[in-house]
Structures are given as structure tokens and as C-alpha cells.
């Protein structure tokens, strides 16, 4: 018969402790590798950021305190690159999420070639950014490029695409979205297809169709998937480098000079200290964004999920 539990104090649980030790043991090699290859170099970068260390003249390397940082903060191009990076991220991620969702809906069908389509559409993500970057550069050549050839065939005037400060950023955005929207689409599609068919049928019986079906039923249900994809794309967009480097290298002028490209210019000039400092500021920015993201959007999501499960 149950009696009042006598609370003799917290019990020592040897089996659970043993399992915990094993878990840490399994995790240890990975953590060590990451410690050595991620944390350690970052610390080294911090160290480097307080020095001047010209690549071509290593003998002059010495400690200079905060000067790299103050130099950066007083450089207009630095602030410009941050502004550009944030602008870039917001626009590109929004387009990719919206178009990606539409694309996912389009690909969510039961016809025969459906899986072939889904396989094909992911190719832009996997094809070498260098090859595609150059190809796009070729396509957008003002004189002999396909784009203008195409437009002239329709009787329209051509643009200077990557050669003009007005259109270069937009062109880059187009290419980046072309490459990554399928990635977003496929992940969202997987989320959509994981919705139980019974829910879909219930909605149908309730006459919830079309747009309201997608806004009221689908979107809330795939919210966790959306969160993850959103986070990944935001962070990747802040770090945007490959395509930029191949296609415009920050130009013309500094119209596409995002943070990573800006940072690279220091490498070209051989100012390793500045390069490290700028890179670290970028790291700070990324972590800041992730932190804000996780604490606002993600936390409410987790709370909602806990409430659902009760």
C-alpha cells in the first residue's frame, strides 16, 4: 500500500551515471577534432587580428593592439560592406523562401515523372559554383552574352548586367537565387509531404482549399522545417563568397563588395592582420544573427511544440 514517500535525499544513480560517462566518451573525439580545427584557429585569428603581419614582409610583423579594428571602423567601405551584406541577405533569403515554397507546392504532385523532376531541380545546387559562375558571367556579357541576345530577339534593349553598378548586385542576386531556391524547395517539400494525409483529407472536408489551405494548414505545420532552412540560408548568405568571387569580385566599384569579398581584398594586399580582424567581425555578426534568431523565432516554436505535446 502506498505510504507517504519519505524523502531521504537525492539518490545516487550509478547506472545512469555510467551511461552518461559513455555518452561523453563517444562525443569526445568529435569535440576534440572540432576544438582543434575550429576553436583553436579562431583563437589564432583573434591573436592575428591584433597584429600587423604583412604577407610579403613577415619580418615586420608586430603587435599593434586595436589599430586594425579602428582602421576598419573608420573605413567607409567596411560599413558599406556590412550594409550590403545585410541587404543582400534579407533580399536573397526572402526570395528563396517565397519562391522555394511556391516551387515546393508545384513539385508536390503524384505524376510519373515527379521524382525525376525533383532530382533534376537540385542540380543547380550541386554543380560547381565556378563553372556556373563563369557560365552566368558569359550569359550576362553585355555584348556577346546570351541574355542580351535573347532580349534583342524579343525586341528589347539589353542591359549591362554585371558591368554596371546599378545592375550588378541584382544580377548576382538572380544567380544566387537560381542556385539555392531548389535547395529550399526540396526541404520544404519534404516537410509538406510529411503532413499526415488524414489532416489533408480533413481540411478538404472542411472546404479549406487553395490559398487558405496553404496558409492556415501547411505553413503552421511545417514551421519547424521552415525555421531550420531559414537559419541555414541566412547564415550562408551572410558568408556569401564563391559566386561573388567568380563573377564580380566585389565590383564594379564596390557595388557587390560584401563582407567576405571585402575581407579577401586584405588578403590580396597582404594585410593579414586586417584580414583576421575583419573575418572575426564577420564571425561576431553571424553569431549575433544566430543568437537573435534562436531566441526569438525558435524559442516560441519550441514552446508551441511543448504545448502541443501535452
Amino acid at each position: 500500500m502506498a505510504a507517504e514517500p519519505s524523502f531521504t535525499g537525492k539518490r545516487h544513480a550509478p547506472l545512469a551515471a555510467h551511461r552518461r560517462r559513455v555518452a561523453y566518451l563517444l562525443l569526445a573525439p568529435t569535440l576534440l577534432v572540432l576544438l582543434g580545427l575550429s576553436i583553436f584557429p579562431t583563437i589564432y585569428s583573434v591573436f592575428l587580428s591584433f597584429r600587423v603581419d604583412p604577407l610579403y614582409n613577415p619580418k615586420v610583423a608586430r603587435f599593434i593592439g586595436w589599430r586594425n579594428y579602428t582602421d576598419l571602423f573608420s573605413d567607409d567601405r567596411f560599413w558599406n560592406s556590412i550594409r550590403l551584406t545585410l541587404y543582400w541577405t534579407v533580399v536573397v533569403v526572402t526570395i528563396q523562401m517565397v519562391v522555394g515554397f511556391l516551387l515546393a507546392i508545384l513539385l508536390d504532385r503524384k505524376m510519373r515523372g515527379a521524382s525525376v523532376l525533383r532530382t533534376l531541380i537540385i542540380v543547380p545546387v550541386f554543380i560547381s559554383p565556378i563553372a556556373m559562375g563563369l557560365t552566368w558571367r558569359f550569359i550576362f556579357e553585355p555584348v556577346s552574352g546570351l541574355a542580351n541576345w535573347f532580349l534583342s530577339g524579343l525586341g528589347l534593349e539589353g542591359y549591362s548586367w554585371l558591368s554596371s553598378t546599378d545592375t550588378a548586385l541584382g544580377t548576382l542576386m538572380f544567380v544566387d537565387c537560381w542556385q539555392w531556391t531548389p535547395f529550399v524547395a526540396l526541404i520544404l517539400l519534404a516537410g509538406i509531404q510529411s503532413i499526415s494525409p488524414e489532416i489533408t483529407e480533413a481540411a478538404r472536408l472542411d472546404r479549406i482549399r487553395g490559398v487558405s489551405y496553404y496558409t492556415r494548414i501547411v505553413l503552421p505545420l511545417i514551421r519547424p522545417v521552415i525555421m531550420v532552412v531559414l537559419l541555414i540560408r541566412i547564415v550562408d548568405s551572410i558568408r556569401f563568397f564563391d559566386l561573388n568571387f567568380i563573377m564580380t569580385k566585389g565590383g564594379p566599384g564596390s557595388s557587390t563588395l560584401v563582407m567576405s569579398t571585402y575581407d579577401y581584398t586584405f588578403f590580396e594586399q597582404g594585410h593579414l592582420g586586417l584580414m583576421a580582424a575583419c573575418g572575426l567581425l564577420m564571425l561576431v555578426l553571424v553569431n549575433l544573427v544566430v543568437f537573435v534568431f534562436l531566441n526569438t523565432l525558435y524559442r516560441s516554436e519550441k514552446a508551441a511544440r511543448r504545448a502541443d505535446m501535452k
Binding site: M1, P5, R11, A13, A16
Partner: protein
Amino acid sequence: MTVSLRNLVKRFADGTVAVKGIDLEIADGEFLTLLGPSGCGKTTTLRLVAGLEEPEEGSIHIGGRDVTAVDPGDRNIAMVFQSYALYPHMTVLQNMTASLRVAGMPKAAADEKAGVTARSLGIEHLLHRKPAKLSGGERQRVALGRAMIRNPICYLMDEPLSNLDLKLREHMRTEIKRLHQKYKVTTIYVTHDQTEALVLSDRVAVMNKGEILQVADPVTIYERPATTFVADFVGSPSINFLKGDLRSGVATVAGRVLKVARAGGDRPVTLGIRPEDIVLGPTGSGIFDGAVAFVEVYGSVVIAFIEPKDVGGLLARREFVAAAVDIHEPIAAGDAVGVRFRDDRISVFDAGDGTALSC
């Protein structure tokens, strides 16, 4: 082997107390069932005995040995999981011999043992198949075989029949009973199905909200439930509860005095009477009259649901009194009847805390 649970308390990380100080002594060779609704703590208790969870307080003794801190694999017990938990990538033979091979038994000897066990369960023709290719009943028997082959000192079974359809369930129930009669190994069985509990067990422990409400043999649980919860949980169709009073040691209901004596001071009481202990007669012949609202046919037994007439506030729950009627006696909706009880079969509970009052 005897199994002793002493003052077991299990708290989970989110604060819920799943098991609130359980004491239980299980005799050697006994078949004991933990019976209760979902969330009552019966599975948690079973897992504590298995060693898959550790208690915050209390101790577990198997065969006189304190195993509270002993690894599950060293307790010499076997468990049949609700989902059978067969190793999906191994054949039936490998599934069954796994524990023996880990302990060092050579393959030939282990395979031989598996053959014997498989034959006794009628699955020797499945030895080289993988779980995916087996039916539910076959998987269940493989799970049993895997447990049996180790000659454990205690079996733990976690709702092993709940994934089977009715016919198969009844068949396997009989199988489990037969095996227990034959080998007499201590078994702790968990289920929410009271039929299983009553059929299979030497004793039943009814649990709710982490506590044991009553431990007794099936007949006692059925005929002399210790609380309204136990009375209600056991027995199908469920027991009728009527509101009454205890005056001077005698129970009254609907203003009529019953030939039911109990010890205790005057107080409001809840009377429990099972459908099969209700006798229907012509109007005026019983404690009160009523009209048959509808009738459910269960096969040889028919349950008539009766709405009491002119007696307000009689029923503690539901709107009908369920009475069992033999199928050969004609009764239909609309009939007016008089309701009488078999006085020696009435249970009396305190209306406040639901505990049974005794004579």
C-alpha cells in the same frame, strides 16, 4: 525467485512523479499483473524492475539480492516489450541466441537450445526468417522465445498482447497461461486490459496515479474491490454506482433500507452493484422502478440500460442502471421494470474518498 519492491519512487526530469512509493512483495513462481489506466505508472514500475530506469528512492530485490544498482543485463531477468523489440537485421534464430552468444555460449549449443525453445512455441519453421517477414503473432512468439531461452528467474511483460487482434490475443493469452503453469517462473505482467489481468494472474495489483490501490487475487479484486476506482476499472460492463447513506450501520438507497450492514459512522456512501447482481421484476417488486431505455446484446448476456423513475439523484454517474439479463428472457426498450439487488453482492464505499467499508 521472489521479487521485492520497497518504497520505490521515480521522478522524471520534468517533475512528474510516476511512481509514488510502491511496496510490493511477489512470491516465487507467482504471476502478478500490474493493472491500471495509461499513465498510472505500471510500465514505469516494470522498467524499474528491469533496470531500464533507476528509482530516486527505494530498492528492488530479486531472489533476495538487492539489484537496485545492478545493470539490466546482470539481473538474469527477461522482458517482452509491447512492440516486441526484435533485432530487425537478425534472423529469428539470431534474435533468440543473441543473449547466449554474448554470454559466451558456443554457436552450436546456442542454436540447439534455440531449436528446442522454438519447437515448444511452434515457431521452429521460422528460424531463418527476419522479423519483417513475420506476422504479429509470430513476432510475439519470437519475443517470448527470446525471453524464455535464457531461463531467467523472472519474466517482465509490457502489454505484450495489445498489438494483436482479438482472436489472436485470446489464443496467446492462453499460451502464456499454459507456459506459466508449466514452468512456474515468477512473472510480472503489465496491462490496461482487465480481462487479461483477471484471466492470467495469481494476483492483481491495481494502480492509479503512481500508487497501488489494491493487491489481491482476481476473485477478491472483482468481488471485494478496495476502492471505487478498482470497482470501476475491473469488470465489464462496468459496475453501477448509486448514491446512498449509511445510517446506524445499515445502508439505505432511494429511501429504502437494504439488508447491508457495514461498520462506520453515519455518512453518505456510494453503493456499487454489478450488472449481473441486479434482478429485474415487475414494477413495484424492487427498490425502485424504471423504464428500459435501450438494450445491448453481448452474446449470451444482454445488458438492459434502465432509467430510474421517480427517484431523483440516485445515480452517482451515468444516467442508467445497467442490468444483465439472460438472453432467453425477453426484454425490450420501453419495458417498465422493478429493480432489485442481490444484497450479499453490494459493495459500500465512502462517498468522499471512495474506500470500501467492511462489515
